[in-house]
Symmetry: C2
Subunit: 228 residues, 2 copies
């Protein structure tokens, strides 16, 4: 038996392409011989740290991305709709409190990452499908309730999410992503023979599969959507 390759997925729920990357990787952890590690991080910190600008500022690129996301949503089977005001949602309101909350969920969860996965998914669904807020405590609560967490767990996580410990954890994950060469999300870091191999975006799965010795089989069925 060959040992499982570790793939770290760095993401932020503010990023729609991360949503595709997240769902595809969550499916492929049951297909490939890999251990997937979810790494919530903060895209705002990446853009600032890398000196990158959002691609949507070029008008033709913005129009294309809108179309591209619609096509990919259908192809990957990941329900996604842009919020009415994407600039406000992504850059003015942002995702700092949401990603601190996901970091707190990750910190508290033992024996797996089902809660991190489900809470992340519910937050994406809010911003990238239902055009709902993800900045207020009551918004985070709603997402966590849908993800199956209890009221008492959520209360504790909301408190924890504003602690210095969690703020530093999120900063640390973001810094680690920058050190891997990140300039945006999603970013996958594959550990193959002790060497990290970084892949950016949700359009390198086939290439990534080739590099880690697995096979790309196209988008797999969206099992999580079955419960919708």
């Amino acid at each position: 038996m060959t040992s499982r390759k570790v793939i770290e997925l760095f993401y932020d729920v503010v990023s729609p392409y991360s949503y595709f990357g997240f769902e595809v990787m969550c499916r492929y952890r049951h297909v490939w011989n890999i251990e997937l590690i979810l790494r919530p991080a903060f895209l705002g910190g990446i853009m600032q740290g890398a000196g990158n600008k959002p691609p949507g500022l070029v008008p033709n690129k913005f129009l294309y991305m809108t179309k591209d996301m619609t096509r990919l949503s259908e192809y990957f089977g990941v329900p996604l709709e842009a919020p009415a005001n994407p600039f406000e949602a992504m850059f003015e309101k942002g995702s700092l409190s949401a990603m601190r909350f996901v970091t707190a969920v990750k910190e508290k969860e033992k024996g797996g990452d089902k809660q991190v996965e489900q809470v992340s998914r519910e937050l994406w669904r809010r911003i990238w499908k239902e055009d709902k807020d993800i900045t207020k405590p009551e918004s985070l609560s709603e997402a966590a309730l849908k993800a199956g967490l209890s009221n008492s767990e959520i209360k504790e996580l909301l408190e924890l999410s504003t602690s210095k410990e969690i703020k530093d954890k999120l900063k640390g994950a973001t810094q680690e992503a920058l050190e891997h060469g990140s300039f945006g999300f999603p970013m996958m870091v594959c550990h193959v023979n002790g060497k990290p191999e970084m892949f950016f975006g949700s359009d390198r799965f086939e290439l990534m599969a080739h590099c880690i010795g697995e096979k790309w089989l196209g988008p797999q069925p969206n099992l999580s959507a079955a419960k919708l």
Copy 2:
């Protein structure tokens, strides 16, 4: 028999990702039920017209792209090496005379596009494999000779390439690309049921196949490399 779908491929030999897109599309015209139309255009005009900036200006993105191109070169079987000074080659020297020359080849060629294909490939090989000039008349001649054109044909094409007619043709193709929503190359415009569907980059083949009702079978064998 269903009618063949027309796919226009807009490209510039200064663009390495266009090289991948070009080779893959040249292979798939023998695999899919399509008519491929090669559309030489000018990337400099696209970047200016769309208000876009080269992605390599962000340091982490530049490092990643270098790695990404090496991986894709191996995966697609398209021999590619960055020139020693990519910024000089791409932005200072540029591709205006080269793309005017390719436009002249396209204008003169009758009954197919074998010459356009071969001359484009030889120009790519010069800049993106051999780190050679593509701006001087003698450079264009060398590429065209390797592509199988005769000395007298080349002499005529070099003259034609500086004519107002050809300058206007290249401008027209570039303008047409902008009107299709281009902000970079390669750009594929698929005409499906009378509606143009635009795809950008060399990482949307699988999605494009899905949209035009064909099947993506991965990179096909590099038949043109057999003669190298």
